[in-house]
């Protein structure tokens, strides 16, 4: 199962551990399953109106910032992080 790293503040809010194994073949599925395991996570990670990752957040899958967001496919041994979306100058 994909290995999801939970940011420190989200751990405090939801009681989730720093890392959790979550089923799912896409980022969307992982977030939905994460919500079942730790209620409150989806509200932090997902913007319902945009149907997208929360603005300002980036999802990193296997070391790269995902360009497909919720649609990004993840594998059994994938590693996922949610980090600030960094722009540039």
């Amino acid at each position: 199962m994909p290995d999801v790293w939970i940011p420190a503040q989200m751990q405090r809010i939801t009681g989730a551990p720093d890392r959790v194994q979550v089923e799912g073949a896409t980022v969307r599925q992982v977030i939905n399953n994460l919500e079942r395991m730790h209620p409150g996570m989806k509200e932090l990670l997902y913007d319902e109106e945009l149907d997208d990752i929360t603005p300002g957040l980036a999802v990193i899958v296997d070391g790269d910032v995902s360009q497909l967001g919720l649609m990004e496919r993840v594998s059994e041994d994938s590693e996922m992080h949610f980090l600030p979306a960094i722009g540039g100058g």
Partner: protein
């Protein structure tokens, strides 16, 4: 004459015919002869001239605005205030590049609503038949202010009893990483000036510091500085009878201009065409819109085109500087130089609205090092200053200033060479970053080794000279991008791309197309398409264009290539798989009599199936991070405190330098901006929160007369996620200079400078303190 190579390229194994060469830029002649048209150069029949009334106070409630006397001035055609602009809710939305923007705050920044939040905040705007009448009308607008105490510094804003800048600001600590928004109507939480507080933790800090033999603690502060582009912001807007709007402006992303203007004037994006003009510098601050929506509002009221252009004082007072900061760190290491733990605390001033680059600082500050135990926290604080904007590697330079000075102290205490210490602790492919993800293929070690072996590093120092080194990291960025290649009958290619060209990217993108097609880059005619002429392309920022738009051009070229193979097969009556495309020549695999050049086939394209149009629409991942390492020699005048740069070398991984001269130019430009940030530049404000040095006479940026040649060394460790191995290059060179210079000053006079700028006054004060005066 130097006994070294001023600019060198440590070339990767792959060799190309066009990539890696140094052609003359396509837009060069127009730019040096004055033919190129920048934002304020546009003039339209019947065009009006706009001017903006700005707040004389850093913090004030707006009791009333009476524009009637201004409207009565003959020749005045329109007046707008905050009541004319769409004010969205505080819901966060997303910049295409990924940095968050909140449209309520954007709207309030472009035109104040109930409060003026910084000196220079736009209050109203006028359009008139000439600029003089517009200025006269501004003087007749009557604004009643209730002046409030300004909150100018982060620590003051964070205090329990601090005056609130936004009564309803929501602290978004809960979302972990994003900056604040507005409290919901039914939320009775107290307001705050702390828009965000986040942290990243890895490992066990107590155990890490317990393992250390030596611990260094360092605190620094930096002043707000401006990006300092030569071309002020300007924009022209014209409405059409069908309700559509055309905007001309220079920006770092005309799709952002289109999208943000549409939102703030309340029309669909399909009704807005944004036409990019040439840009005279941006460095991050032209990612935001300021003038375009106001010009559009004035033009709509006046039923005539309106041009708005800032002067230099407006640029300083009302557009994004980067943050003033307070940063502290604590780093522990064993006697043999292994860093066992590091913590960094970052406090960034966001300006009047949330969204400083503190997350960028946190992401970058320890990213190039392999440290098992780390703690990084960041604060985003609103103050009564102009809203900060991105500035070249946003967040990273100030953060690196603190940590890279601390590493110099650590190296000294341990008796280890400064580069060796960094090499011993350098991240490599597979190292876990403090923010969590694993490091991809990088060239950190190669760049440090190139620094150590550079002639400058081992050269004898001059009398009274000090030498310093520092490293800097930037992750680089990517995003969606589009390119279209039209094959012309004479064998040339017209390349339309979606990225505004700030740093020579017409050439670097064209080179990638030419390499694939095997044609001279001079046969490519690049142009920047408007928002109706090319697919959505994210901003020219994050050092992304040569990576992402180069990728789009590569894809378009591959499309052209496949179409040309099919056309040759049709002409020769063979199968397409029997046709080869090599170096701009189409060949039959078995019959060497069947050959045709790109130019010959281009001439036959129409009768063989119609025009050949190559398309590239991409959103590539994997923009490779890089580091830069700078070596600087300084001479310090201990009587005046003046610091002179006597030699400077910048070493940087470029992945693959598509156009080495422009990579060198980016490195040199970034280094010079960093030197200005280090030694001279600051927003100097009085006790009322007014900037008192808002001109280039008083805001001292370095010129060519102040500096030696900035020598460069390009290291090429290819990025596996790009067809030619490109990494972004434009931002990282501004990261190391402050720390490198501070370390050099210490080497020269034995004083650690912990406040920027390190101007003569601050140097003398530090010297006096050291000498007990």
């Amino acid at each position: 004459m130097p006994d070294y190579t001023p600019n060198m390229v440590l070339t990767s194994d792959k060799e190309y015919k066009v990539v890696g060469t140094r052609p003359i830029r396509h837009d060069g002649a127009d730019k040096v002869t004055g033919l190129a048209r920048y934002s304020a150069d546009l003039n339209l029949p019947g065009m009006l001239y706009g001017k903006v009334l700005r707040s004389p106070h850093a913090h004030a409630r707006i009791r009333s605005i009476d524009t009637s006397k201004a409207e009565a001035v003959p020749g005045v055609r329109a007046v707008v205030t905050g009541s004319d602009i769409v004010e969205p809710t505080g819901r966060a939305s997303d910049l295409a590049e990924g940095a968050m923007i909140n449209f309520k705050f954007l709207s309030n920044n472009i035109m104040a609503q109930d409060k003026a939040l910084y000196k220079g905040h736009a209050i109203a705007a006028v359009a008139a038949v000439n600029a003089h009448l517009a200025e006269e009308a501004l003087s007749r607008i009557e604004v009643e202010y209730e002046v409030l105490p300004p909150v100018m510094h982060a620590r003051e804003a964070m205090a329990d009893e601090a005056t609130l800048i936004h009564e309803r600001l929501a602290a978004f600590h809960t979302a972990g990483t994003r900056a604040g928004g507005v409290l919901d109507d039914d939320d009775d939480s107290a307001g705050t000036n702390v828009a965000n507080h986040f942290e990243f933790r890895m490992g066990d800090m107590d155990a890490g510091f317990a393992e250390a033999d030596v611990i260094v603690e360092r605190s620094v502060s930096t002043s707000a500085v401006h990006q300092g582009y030569i071309e002020p912001h300007a924009g022209t807007a014209m409405w059409h009878d069908d309700g559509s709007l055309t905007i001309w402006s220079s920006s770092q992303g005309h799709f952002t201009v289109r999208d943000h203007t549409a939102r703030l004037v309340g029309i669909p994006v399909s009704k807005v065409k944004a036409i990019p003009m040439e840009i005279g510098g941006g460095f991050g601050a032209k990612l935001a819109v300021y003038m375009e929506p106001v010009a559009a509002l004035l033009a709509r009221k006046a039923h005539a085109p309106v041009k708005l252009a800032m002067n230099r004082t407006e640029v300083f007072e009302a557009t994004g500087p980067t943050s003033g900061t307070e940063i502290s760190c604590k780093i522990g290491a064993t006697n043999d130089g292994k860093i066992t733990a590091a913590e960094v605390h970052l406090i960034f001033e966001a300006g009047a609205f949330p969204g400083s680059p503190v997350a960028g600082g946190a992401n970058c500050v320890l990213a190039a090092y392999d440290i098992a135990n780390t703690w990084i926290e960041g604060y985003d604080i609103v103050v009564n200053r102009p809203k900060t904007a991105a500035y070249r590697a946003p967040g990273s330079p100030a953060a690196a200033y603190c940590v890279e000075v601390a590493l110099d102290e650590l190296a000294e205490k341990l008796g280890i060479d400064a580069i060796d210490l960094r090499l011993m602790n350098s991240a490599r492919e597979g190292t876990r970053r403090p923010t969590g993800p694993l490091t991809p293929k990088v060239g950190y070690v190669e760049t440090l080794e190139a620094t150590k072996s550079h002639p400058h590093y081992g050269a004898p120092k001059g009398k009274r000279h000090g030498r310093g080194v520092a490293s800097g990291f930037w992750g680089n960025n990517t995003g969606p991008s589009a390119a279209v290649a039209l094959v012309n009958p004479d064998g040339t290619v017209t390349l339309t791309e979606g990225s505004p060209d700030i740093g020579g990217t017409r050439a670097s993108v064209s080179q990638q197309l030419a390499e694939v097609l095997g044609i001279p880059v001079e046969d490519v005619n690049p142009q920047i398409g408007d928002t109706d002429s090319i697919g959505f392309t994210s901003n020219t920022g994050g050092s992304s264009v040569t990576f992402k738009t180069g990728y789009a051009a590569y894809t378009a070229a591959q499309d052209v290539k496949q179409q040309m193979i099919a056309r040759a097969a049709r002409i020769w009556e063979v199968e397409a798989e029997d046709v080869l495309y090599e170096d701009g020549v189409l060949k039959h695999r078995a019959d060497d009599q069947l050959q045709m050049t790109f130019q010959q086939l281009a001439a036959r394209q129409v009768p063989t199936g119609g025009p050949i149009v190559g398309r590239g629409g991409v959103n590539p991942g994997g923009a490779g991070p890089c580091i830069g390492v700078h070596i600087v020699d300084v001479e310090v005048d201990e009587d005046t405190g003046k610091v002179e740069i006597v030699r400077y070398t910048a070493i940087q991984d470029a992945g693959k330098a598509i156009h080495p001269s422009y990579v060198e130019g980016q490195i040199q430009g970034g280094a010079v901006q960093g030197i200005g940030w280090a030694l001279n530049e600051e927003y100097y404000t009085n006790d009322q929160g007014h900037m008192v040095n808002s001109s280039f006479l008083d805001y001292r940026m370095p010129t060519s007369l102040d500096l030696p040649m900035i020598d460069t060394c390009i290291v090429e460790v290819d990025n596996p996620n790009h067809p030619f191995g490109v990494r972004g290059v434009g931002e990282v060179p501004i990261v190391p200079p402050m720390a490198a210079i501070a370390n050099a000053i210490y080497d020269a006079i034995g004083v650690r400078l912990t406040v920027l700028p390190m101007n003569p006054g601050n140097v003398l004060e530090a010297l006096w303190e050291k000498n007990g005066k």
